[in-house]
Amino acid sequence: MSESLIINLSVLILFLPLFGFTTVIFLGKKFPKLYLFEVAILTSALLLSIFVLYAKLTFFNVKDIIAEFTWISMNNLPFGDVININLGVKIDNVAAIMLFVVNLISALVHIYSIEYMRGDRYYTRYFAYLGLFTFSMLGIVITHNLLMMYIFWELVGLSSYLLIGFWFHKKSAADAGKKAFIVNRIGDIGMFIGILILFTNYKTFTFDVIFEQIAAGNLPFGSEAWLTAAGILVFMGAVGKSAQFPLHVWLPDAMEGPTPVSALIHAATMVAAGVFLVTRIFVMLTADAMLVIAVIGAFTSLLSATIALTQNDIKKVLAYSTVSQLGYMIMSLGVGAYVFAFFHLVTHAFFKACLFLGSGSVIHAMHHEQDIQKMGGLKKKMPITYWTFLISTLAISGIPLTSGFLSKDGILAGTLAFGKLTGHWLIPITGFTVAALTAFYMFRLVILTFHGEPKDHHKFEHAHETPWVMTAPLVILSVLSIFIFYTPNPISPDAGWFMKNWVKTPTQVVPDNTRYHHMVESTEEAKAEIHGEIVHSVEYTETMHWAHYPAMLMSLIVAGFGILIALIFYTWKKVNADKLADKLKLLYKGSLNKWYIDELYDKTAISGTLNFSSILAWFDQKIIDGAVNGSAWLTRVVSKFSGWFDTFAVDGLVNFTAFFSGFVGFSFKKLQTGKVQTYIVFVIFSVIILLLLFKPF
């Protein structure tokens, strides 16, 4: 077992889906069966990634495996050094796990899609796109530098654009794809500028080199503010991809894509890329940057949880729940609970993928009915779907024995610790509120969909359990939502292999005096510690330990509370939800309409830009074209040639110049009267004028 094997395998895993993509896209028309080839490729990639994961965790557990080559090399004048832009692969534990997660979900989605997408006009192309997406996502995972990260980041954007807009004949789908890409680009710009800041200072894109330099006290442009800015800017990329407020608007719309795509992209992988990015750059985040991240994460999770409460589209609920959970992870990173953020990323990937695929199963069975108001009682018809869905719901709600419980609890503990150390108590409060809301709306979803009486009998009658290619992935994913895969202790992940052996908070960080400086004076003594260690994290870890059980308890309580309310509302119907909604009309409407954020954007930024561009276009055509043409004299002459003058003689300046130059030409013309005596008079006058002008007395 050598490092190079792992590298080679990872690269192989990376390129397998690309190979699949090119093969299928070019030959798919001739050989429609090629989708099977794509599935096979993904399966083999999955197997290889399992092997890589195993090898990495077993043989090189603590060592990061890095390989790189020079892609572009050039002198960098006027600074006088040589820029080598290296591309490379970095397989640490996080990457290895992500490799596995991505491949797993991707493979399952591939398999699931065989049935789900059957009969679609662009069946093979769909698989090709999936391959492309997987390739891009894997690229993000294994890269060792920001540039490649950005490259694959954009490729992910492209493939998600293709997949969301897969049913391009639906205008809404095409719109959603466009929206996703453009909104993501906004974040990407920030990320790009952040990368530029780092590159300008360190002449490299490689994570480790940059971090080393920062750790060595070499701050961007010599100032900590720039470091903060760089962190926040790069984080903007994550805001886009992980659908954080204010760029969260694309994700719910992206549900226009096929449901397996939603499971793959919008639950487990693409949106997780943002979180992954932040884990990658975690070590260079300053305290201010982290606070910003935490606040954004918390706010996002709260906001989307409130929206999820009232949504009636099964996928929309899941979508908002995803945004909310992503906010959780981001918040977790912001408060410093690095491991739990990543942990939640993994667990969430599984159970959310399961939920999406489950909903896909339901939609499939209900003949593309997505409104939960029209469902109900599906439990009997679709038992496998129901049970897997339920397990995942429990997991997302944070019920013990599930993976979700473990990770969520960790995050909440982290926020509590953060609150205690810094006094920002709003963040833990938000965290717990969201936990309650999550439990509520997820159970609302389950109850309305699977329990109770069917609302649409016709569709209900035709509903049936989906075939095994669809249910098998559900089963696998729901099983993976059980605690045992992560830790032997169902109530504490700390002792588990995931926390203890596999993933650790990075040790090398930004200069210590920039980190957690808002943690009041309690860390004064820690400053003496060795440079480059996360000295404060000792304190933080201790505080987290302190917060562990309170957090667990409280999270259980709030989750239970949420579930209870859901039962009261929808199973026992003690309270009429509609009446309540009537009472709280304003809130209800707001929530239902996503707090009108889309509309706000539409009215301000989008139509603003469009209006501005129309004005500019007008300006360009009328003013610039007119004025720079130099003269409308040009216009005039040109138009005289062809008789377009009327259309082009525009007002103002233009008219004036036209008049003037026309006048000049015309006056000259007038001199030529055709009468020879007039000419002679002109000659005599000219003689006199010449004499007077040039030889005064």
């Binding site: 013309k669 055709g674 020879v676 005596q677």
Partner: protein, 103 residues
């Protein structure tokens, strides 16, 4: 002042010249315009001869005058031919009506 000198001849020439110009620019009849031109040439001739005499420039002035007179004759011949031609074409010798070529 009244004693005749160079200036007197020159003034006569100047007046003749101006009358010539006046005739050229105001007369309608092409022939009359030609008369104006003859006046101008005569004015120049007076100048030459007067200068030659008063400046003691020898006979060059008179020679020039001689040549100019002959030349005027040639010119008049050509001019009259052209005027006749015009009359044939336009049935008129009104200079200000012959303005088809313009602008």
């Amino acid at each position: 002042m009244l004693q005749v000198g160079l200036t007197h001849f020159l003034v006569v020439s100047a007046i003749l010249f101006s009358f010539g110009i006046y005739g050229i620019v105001t007369r309608k009849n092409a022939v009359m315009v030609l008369m104006g031109i003859e006046l101008v040439l005569n004015a120049a001739n007076i100048n030459f001869i007067a200068f030659a005499k008063y400046g003691n420039f020898g006979f060059s002035g008179q020679m020039i005058a001689l040549f100019v007179i002959i030349l005027a004759a040639a010119e008049a011949a050509i001019a009259l031919a052209i005027v006749l031609n015009i009359y044939k074409t336009f049935l008129s010798v009104n200079v200000d009506e012959i303005d088809h070529l313009k602008e």
